[in-house]
Amino acid sequence: MTKQWLIIRPKVLPISFHCDRRVPRVLSILTLITIVAMVISVGYGEYYISPLDVIKTLLGLQTTNTDYYFVINILRLPRTLVAFLVGVGLAIAGTITQGITRNPLAAPDIIGVNAGAALAAVTLIILLPNTPVSLLPFAAFTGALTVALLIYFLAWREGSSPVRLILVGIGFSLIANALTNLMITFGEINTVSQALVWLTGSVYGRSWSQVLALIPWIVIFGAIALILARELNTLNLGDEVARGLGSPVEWQRGLLLLTSVALAGSSVATAGTVGFVSLMAPHLGRQLVGASHEGLLPVAAMMGGMLVVGADLLGRVMFAPLELPCGIITAAIGAPYFVYLLIKNRQP
């Protein structure tokens, strides 16, 4: 009988880490698929570059064509990297929200991140069409953070509770969505079209400046999430049990929520409200490696990155030369797979 857990507890360092045995294998397979998808994605386009040349260029080796360097490093690589980072951010944020609320339907949408970001961005696009696009991420992030904080404070009453958090979150999302829809319904039609693309989520035309702006958020808050994974396991047992085990429940839940908002907010600010990744990646991860968060977080993160990179690639291939935003593909591809899991999982 093989052991279920993989335990890392070095004698010299005061750390201990344990995760499911399947994690290393699953994680490396996912990483491999993601890298392959990224290489293909960078090579694909009106100006086709073979995968081998892509790899050579990325490694800084000499290739036959000098244009490759420009096309790959300046035009295509940042877009793919943004897709990957956004996927990672959304997936971790989703895992955290599902862990905190103990609700399989919870995604960062629940704590109002998407609704707040969408409202701010759509307002900017429709009411002030002349503002530069570079302001959009700031507006979106401010919107997300504002709504998330409002929800948390209004849900606070001698402590926070998952149910109250969810319900207040619903209330705020409804208000923000109604305002967004108001603008969609009465705004000028061209700007509405533009807003709609942002709302479905797209990584079209993203550049290095966006990659560099996003990286610190994902790295720092991703690391915090990983450190807090163990507390997430405890919280998942229910407030009473967690408190009984000595967890400072409120403090941890607040910190985890903030992490989730930061990750989802920065991702949404960069690429728009890419749907379904934050809902789906944690579920997929749990199918593969179980519910223990130390292993689940990295697997879900890689899964999210893979999904968005793949979706972006597919969105460009399917109706070429027309391009579909990757947010549409994540849902269109993700949903059937979800259903397949539901079927596969049933007992014989």
Binding site: N103, P104, L105, A106, I110, L154, A155, R157, E158, S161, V163, R164, I166, L167, V168, I170, G171, F172, L174, I175, N177, A178, L179, N181, L182, I184, T185, I189, N190, V192, S193, L196, V197, L199, T200, G275, F276, L279, H283, L322, L324, P325, G327, I328, I329, T330, A331, A332, G334, A335, P336, F338, V339, L342, I343, N345, R346, Q347
Partner: protein, 344 residues
Amino acid sequence: MLTTEKNSYLRQQRKHLQLFTGLLLAGLILWLSLLASIAWGAADISFKDIYQAFTAFDGSSSHLIIRTVRLPRSLIAMLVGAALAIAGAIMQGLTRNPLASPSILGVNAGAALAVVVGTFILGSNSLSVYAWFAFAGAAISAITVYLLGSIGRGGLTPFNLTIAGAAITAFISSITSAILILSQRTLEEIRFWLAGSVAGRDMNLLWQVLPYICIGLILALALSKQITILSLGEDTARSLGQSTALIKILAAISIILLAGASVAIAGPIGFVGLIVPHIVRFLVGVDYRWILPYCAIFGAIIVLNADLLGRLVVRPTELPVGLVMPLIGAPFFIYLIRWKLHNS
């Protein structure tokens, strides 16, 4: 021992009396709202005229407005509100998930896709064509969600249902937005409908969907006791001798009829089905024999007044009811949560 039993019986009686009085009071508010909704709008009409429009119709413009515009519209708002609130209450009872609402079954998403596809391909823009497309779309997606939910592990558990619903909703909405992004003409034509509105609906449309809503309502009220038991948990219900599978199927039929007919006539309206059941549960507790009638009346009051307000605030144009409702209702809902849910 006997006295305590008698006391609890008396308390029970008193509670029922209170709830019944509350229901009557809510009915009165509904009646007043209906009058207001008929009287006020782009043009104000006196109550005397309203009375005469029904007793001594003379074909004058204000009488015509009442009988062909205001009355159908108000009745539709009431019906849609009642239907959606009840459908939402049943959904939440069955799935025991506070996030559940008819839209989780994919009803709204399915209707929206069907109407968008209809407009995109046929270029039609008549409300009664929309209605049939919407009803068909809603029914197909809800049935799909149910079928998919029931093939998961353990059959039609609340978990499987919600997951299947979320997946299908996301899938369908993504196709809808793809079409809207690719075709600006469709977006232009359909966006007002997509916001959810009862404007410009006439009596014919009402008569078309009325039978479905009535069957759905009767079915729901007949099931109220069973749903109360089911909301305590599937095991409890089964051990009390309930045929849970049958109840679930009947409840599903009722939800599909109610929510499908609503979206057919008024477009996708999200707020009522999600929020009204919560508000009602705060007030009347967990017994669905009370929750359902309260939901019907509250839902009707809310949609009716939201529609009225949407007509009054930006006269002479108007805001769609689907957008007005969350803007007024959600703050109230948040207040209720803070006030009622303190230490659970």
